[in-house]
Symmetry: C2
Subunit: 105 residues, 2 copies
C-alpha cells in the first residue's frame, strides 16, 4: 500500500535489510511488529517491498514517536531475535520528510 494522506513535515524511518538463509519465524514476527507499530502514538503508515533486499519505510509524526517505538519492549525483543537469527545486515535511517509529490492515474 502507498500512503498518500500525510502533511509535511513528518518523519520517515528507512529500514533496509538483507536476511540470512535462516528465515524461519521471521515473517510471523515481522507481521506482529507491523500490527504493533500501527498501535503506537504518532504512527502514520508504512510502505514495504522485498526481493533481493528489503526496503521498509515507516512514517511517524515526530522524533519522540520514533524513539518511543524504538524503546517498546516487544519491539526490543524482536530486534534482538532479528540480530541473532534473521538479519545479515541492515541500515536504519531517520529522516525528516520536507516535501512530497504524487501521481495517480
Amino acid at each position: 500500500m502507498i500512503i498518500d494522506n500525510l502533511k509535511t513535515p513528518y518523519y520517515a524511518v528507512v529500514f533496509s535489510t538483507i536476511l540470512t538463509d535462516n528465515v524461519e519465524g521471521y515473517e510471523a514476527i515481522a507481521n506482529k511488529m507491523e500490527l504493533l507499530a500501527k498501535k503506537q502514538p504518532g504512527y502514520l503508515g508504512v510502505e514495504s517491498a522485498r526481493n533481493s533486499i528489503g526496503v521498509t519505510v515507516s512514517y511517524w509524526s515526530s522524533l519522540e514517536a520514533i524513539t518511543a517505538w524504538k524503546n517498546n519492549v516487544e519491539h526490543i525483543e524482536a530486534r534482538e531475535l532479528g540480530r541473532s537469527k534473521w538479519y545479515k545486515k541492515y541500515r536504519l535511517r531517520i529522516c525528516k520528510v520536507e516535501r512530497e509529490y504524487g501521481f495517480e492515474n
Copy 2:
C-alpha cells in the same frame, strides 16, 4: 545492495510506486535511469525493492543535486513515459537524513 558509507546530514528521495499491467519497456528505462542517476553530481547511492509495490530510496548530497536530477532532460522524458504508460500511482518524498544506525553480522 545496501549503502553504508554515508555521513549525515544528506538527503533521501523515497519513491514508492504501483505499476500498471502494461510494463513493456519499463525495466529497460528504469535500468537506464539508474545508470544515468549514478553519473549525476551529488548522487550517493540507491536501495530498491519491488513486489506488490516498489520502494526505491536514492541518496543525494544536497537538495540542489536532487533538483538538478529532477530537471535532467532524459529523466524528464522517462518520467513522462512512466506517467503515460507504467505508473498507476506514485509518491515521491524528499527527506533529510538526520541519523542512522547499522548492523552487520
